[in-house]
């Protein structure tokens, strides 16, 4: 017995919409089975993982806080992935954006520099992330070096640079030599949207980025060009679209957005530079981009779902004493189910007995 795959010619929008839901249910069933194997109640787990965080205003706010960097990075990555370019190094671009933006924050620290600091910090972070993203893009277009690997290697390099800055030149001189910078001034701090809430303006940036992307992809020539470059590179060439400039553009966009996420997190959440400023957001956002099937609305939902798995995972540790590894395994299963469901929408799959070719 073996698989037979046939591409489906006309895919109904209903199927496209239902597929991820089916995938989610499947993933939950698998995870529930694993939890049952561990001798725990799957129903209690579902309650703690999903229902409780979604029924409590505090958790809902935390959901938005956690989803913000993921959505910002993932929406940028969707440009790359649509064009079949594999930027795996968003974590590095995030770090570099945070470094560029923080440079201004630390250099204006203690001065009476006014309202211009924060906007300039944001711009600098976009610049930093974009420039760092352009390194693998340039190496690819100019020398044909594989972008997956260079972008990944550059993550480790960026982390070492941040480590050096936090422990060396940017260390707070009054901080007893602990590896952290001074706390940013109010002028360099991204404000919360509401008083007494941790939800900050980064969430708005993420929404804007998603909306703009939806318009670009749906309504502009550039969007069409991305799609064509990804789906049919030769056709894109015939249409006069230069693969080189597409590559540079998408890496700059995704790097810039990752860089913005970096400063948003440092300035809106952490409030200072320290050796670790990310919870693997750059890598997790790749999952988010795929879960959202590179579609802007999908990414919005996916970022909230992934944020939910993190918050639910913490809940499960606290309330049910379920290990953290289970959360990670679940994220893997969820992504696999979504990818499989997607494939089932695109292809008709049937089992054929040996020899029964058609």
């Amino acid at each position: 017995m073996r698989f037979e795959l046939t591409p489906r010619t006309n895919i109904s929008p209903v199927m496209r919409a239902v597929a991820p839901v089916v995938a989610f249910i499947t993933a939950f069933l698998i995870a529930g089975f694993v939890i049952w194997l561990m001798g725990r109640s799957p129903i209690a787990a579902f309650d703690v993982y999903v229902l409780q965080p979604l029924s409590d205003p505090w958790s809902l706010q935390e959901l938005v806080v956690k989803a913000t960097p993921l959505a910002l990075i993932a929406i940028g990555l969707s440009y790359c992935f649509r064009a079949n370019l594999w930027n795996i190094g968003a974590e590095g671009q995030y770090t570099m954006g945070a470094i560029f933006g923080s440079w201004l924050a630390l250099n204006t620290h203690g001065t009476d520099a006014g309202l211009w600091v924060l906007p300039l910090m944001l711009l600098l972070s976009i610049l930093g992330g974009a420039l760092y993203g352009l390194i693998p893009a340039f190496l690819k277009t100019r020398f044909g070096v594989n972008e997956i690997l260079t972008s990944l290697m550059l993550v480790y390099v960026a982390q070492q640079i941040l480590d050096y800055l936090a422990r060396g030149p940017w260390r707070d001189p009054k901080g007893f030599n602990f590896p952290q910078s001074v706390t940013f001034d109010p002028a360099a701090t991204l404000p919360s949207i509401l008083e007494e809430s941790r939800v900050h303006y980064g969430a708005i940036f993420a929404l804007v980025a998603i909306l703009v992307t939806a318009v670009i992809l749906g309504r502009t020539l550039f969007g069409y060009r991305l799609k064509l470059t990804g789906d049919a590179p030769r056709a894109a060439q015939f249409a006069g679209f230069s693969a080189r400039s597409t590559t540079l553009a998408v890496f700059a966009i995704s790097g810039g957005l990752a860089g913005l996420a970096g400063i948003v997190e440092v300035s809106g959440q952490i409030g200072q530079i320290q050796p670790s400023i990310s919870n693997n957001y750059g890598f997790t956002a790749i999952t988010v981009a795929f879960l959202g099937r590179l579609n802007p609305v999908g990414i919005l939902i996916a970022s909230l779902v992934v944020a939910l798995t993190f918050i639910g995972g913490e809940n499960a540790q606290i309330l049910l004493k379920l290990p953290l590894d289970l959360t990670q395994a679940f994220q893997g299963i969820l992504l696999m189910c979504v990818l499989a469901a997607d494939a089932m929408v695109s292809y008709r799959i049937r089992f054929a007995t040996r020899g029964g070719g058609k």
């Binding site: 505090w58 935390e62 806080v65 956690k66 070492q160 480590d163 050096y164 422990r167 060396g168 030149p169 007893f176 030599n177 602990f178 590896p179 706390t183 941790r198 997190e265 959440q269 952490i270 409030g271 200072q272 320290q274 050796p275 670790s276 400023i277 990310s278 919870n279 693997n280 918050i311 913490e314 809940n315 540790q317 606290i318 309330l319 004493k321 290990p323 953290l324």
Partner: protein, 360 residues
């Protein structure tokens, strides 16, 4: 993953002036105690030892205290986990890494009726205490042992990061060695990680390859001492007793023992006597414990035991003045006959005799 565990409970230096009277403490019958760990409980080092302390609480108060932990909490994203513990009815919350300092402070302000304890930091509040251990006391003892045991007069040190806690440990280790062996040289490698067994092992091998025959480590896994064992050289256990990983190589181990402290603080909450304090425990309070001295001649063992007793009784301070810096100048003595706590906790210089430079 980076874990910024740095011990630093700066005596009064940076206590937040939030002296407005907290809620009057009441004795309680049943409480919940929560822990935030920076690493996985299975790291067999830092977080593992804190978890041993958590289990000690469960044993000490059966039926009265339940405990919870959240592991591998990234420092940059820890506020939510801490607040979630506060929101789920925990009465006492321990956050066990330096990087949790600001988030713990923020949550503590928001929940004035819950007691918080932050390991290795220096910011306090009426409901936020700090605690840390004087590991450098143990490092002075192992320095003396190393100075006696080395045949090549070259001892080695695998450090995690060049932060004050590690630098103070290196200095104490070297001062100990120098006190019994004036010719001794030290070679230092920073692995730039708290926890990557293979890389820590490589760092240890690099030192052994360069003629080191007694090895100390300030990273969390047993890999360095295991490398010493494989080469027939000596080493010291870190954080926990590593004898079963290196039965022939382990001379002794410096054990982080949080159990007594955690049990005492839990009892204080049960009794209603909990106060925000700064605890910096050493050998005398058993927060730092040396495992039995083994694999060494009797005279070295005797020396180690005497030194341990002297430190415990307060007769000996590893950083007693005068301390000479690398440039040959004496370091200003701000404490009482020894460097002050602030000077030790913020240490960023090597003592005379160490030829390396602190990487910046």
């Amino acid at each position: 993953m980076f874990s910024g565990k740095v011990f630093g409970a700066l005596a009064g230096a940076a206590v937040l002036a939030l002296s407005a009277g907290g809620a009057v403490a009441q004795p309680k019958d049943k409480i919940k105690v929560g822990f935030i760990y920076v690493g996985p409980v299975g790291d067999h080092g830092w977080s593992y030892q804190h978890d041993q302390g958590r289990q000690a609480i469960e044993k000490a108060f059966p039926g009265k205290v339940t405990t919870t932990f959240v592991e591998s909490v990234p420092e940059a994203d820890s506020e939510r986990a801490i607040e979630q513990l506060a929101r789920t009815g925990h009465d006492l919350i321990f956050t066990t890494s330096f990087g949790f300092m600001e988030p713990t402070l923020k949550v503590a302000k928001k929940y004035p009726n819950i007691k918080f304890e932050h390991a290795t930091g220096f910011k306090r509040a009426p409901n936020l205490a700090t605690y840390a251990a004087k590991f450098h006391e143990g490092r002075y003892i192992i320095g003396q042992i190393a100075g006696k045991m080395t045949k090549t007069d070259t001892i080695g040190y695998v450090g995690a990061f060049p932060i004050p806690e590690v630098i103070a440990g290196i200095n104490a280790f070297y001062l100990g060695a120098q006190s019994v062996n004036p010719d001794v040289k030290i070679k230092i490698v920073f692995a730039n990680t708290w926890y990557d067994p293979a890389k820590e092992g490589d760092a240890a091998k690099a030192l052994l390859d360069q003629g080191v025959d007694v090895l100390a480590q300030h990273t969390d896994s047993p890999a360095p001492i295991q490398a010493a064992e494989a080469r027939g050289k000596f080493g010291f256990g870190q954080a926990s007793d590593m004898e079963r990983f290196a039965p022939k190589a382990q001379l002794t181990a410096i054990v982080d023992n949080w159990s007594d402290y955690y049990v005492a603080r839990t009892k204080a909450v049960l009794d209603g006597t909990w106060k925000s304090e700064d605890t910096w425990g050493g050998l005398d309070s058993k927060m730092v414990v040396m495992t039995p001295y083994k694999n060494m001649p009797d005279d070295v063992k005797k020396l180690a035991e005497e030194t341990e007793a002297a430190i415990r009784s307060g007769k000996l301070n590893p950083f007693k003045c005068p301390i000479i810096g690398q440039d040959g100048k004496e370091i200003e003595c701000k404490g009482n006959g020894a460097l002050s706590d602030e000077q030790v906790l913020g240490m960023n210089f090597y003592v005379k005799g160490i030829e390396d430079k602190i990487p910046q």
